[in-house]
Amino acid sequence: MAYVVERPKLSLAEKLYFPSILKGLKITLGHFIRLMRGRTKVTMQYPEEKWDASLPAHYRGAPTLVTDEVGRERCVACQLCEFICPPRAITITPEQIPSEDKWAKVEKRPREFKIDMIRCIYCGMCEEVCPEQAIYLRKDYAITGTTREEMVHDKKRLYELGGVREGLVNKWNELK
Amino acid sequence: MPQPLFYLFVAVMLGFGAAVVLLRNPVSSALSLVVSFAGLAALYVSLNAYFAGVLQVLVYAGAVMVLFLFIIMLMDIREEQRRRINKVAVVGGAALVVGFVVQLGGVLAGYEAGRKPLDRVPLQLTEAAEARRAAGNVSPGITADLERGTLPDTKLVGEALFTRYHLQLQMVGVLLLVATVGVIVISRREDRVVSGRGE
């Protein structure tokens, strides 16, 4: 049912607006003075102060590749991440591991593994889907470059960023 | 006023005045008139009529011409299309103007009192102050200004306006009021008339 909203009856002081204007001026001046005296917690000054220490545990930064404790690259080039990636940022060129190699039994490894960081949306699907636990999202968020080529992370750069991860980590475990 | 400045301001006034007539875009005409009035105001100032000069800028350039511009823009008047020129009218009009100027020149050529240069008719401020003091010193502010050697132009205008001309001033006030009412009556859109032009 429709109902009528009563217009509030304004008193003379309210009709003049001056008291409320002064009240507003007082509030803004209060903010001004509090900030001048350093009483207000203000925005973080970015390049000098960083957020790193207070990043939450679930923060999803740049995706990286990891090697295990014996130095083997975990990725077996199954290309599941390439298929699941929503913006199609990942390009994998698989290759067979030659038989004389120490890890010939693994059979496949990526010859080239590229993640286009301009396209990456940091969704974490690749990490989720990886059966070998080879790809992880790190907490790096300041990924910058001056050219488009620079923004495409190749295998070398991805391992560099990812580093070594020991032991298998199940989703439900605490991240080591 | 030094002579070069006089000629400069006369040139500004007449040049932009001619532009008002010659330019085909009404906005250009209006703006030329503003500059022309600015030159005119400078001439007033050269004649020690500061108040009239300020009034010319304040009222004409600041208010009247803005009103003109406002109307021109609101009605979106474009440049005039070149129409068939009525030769008789143009020649006749030009002859009228030339005749007027020639006649004026003729009158002024025989006007002896007009040959006096400006510095031959100096303002005698101290004498005027003494005369005012002798006559009863009605408004001491003006006398003090005169004794300091400055011409209190605005105050003298005010004095004349509110003593000798107060009746006329009130009449002008009534005139302005009537004009205001008249403008409102004229410009009020009559609802009865159905305008078929889709405004």
Binding site: - | V21, I71, I72, E127, I186
Partner: protein, 105 residues
Amino acid sequence: MVTLNDYLIASGLLFGIGLAGVVLRRNIIVIFMCLEMMLSAANLSLVAFSRFRPTGGLPDYDGQMLVFFIITVATAEVAVGLAIIVALFRTKRTVHVEDITSLSG
């Protein structure tokens, strides 16, 4: 030095330009502006006379009073005149004086 005649000639020329505009132009708004110019030209000669014929060491303020009243009346005239022009434009859709012929029967 500048003489009274110089001012009067300047004033007369301005008046002549205004007159030419009134006679030659066909845009009613420009005609109106030229009328203002003619009034101002008259004002200039009044101010010049007031300065060149001092009374008691001061400029003759009677002349400047007339200037003041002319400016005031001209302002009222502009307001009314522009209102009439707007009303005219609403009905005729033109500001060209040759198109406004209702009064010629």
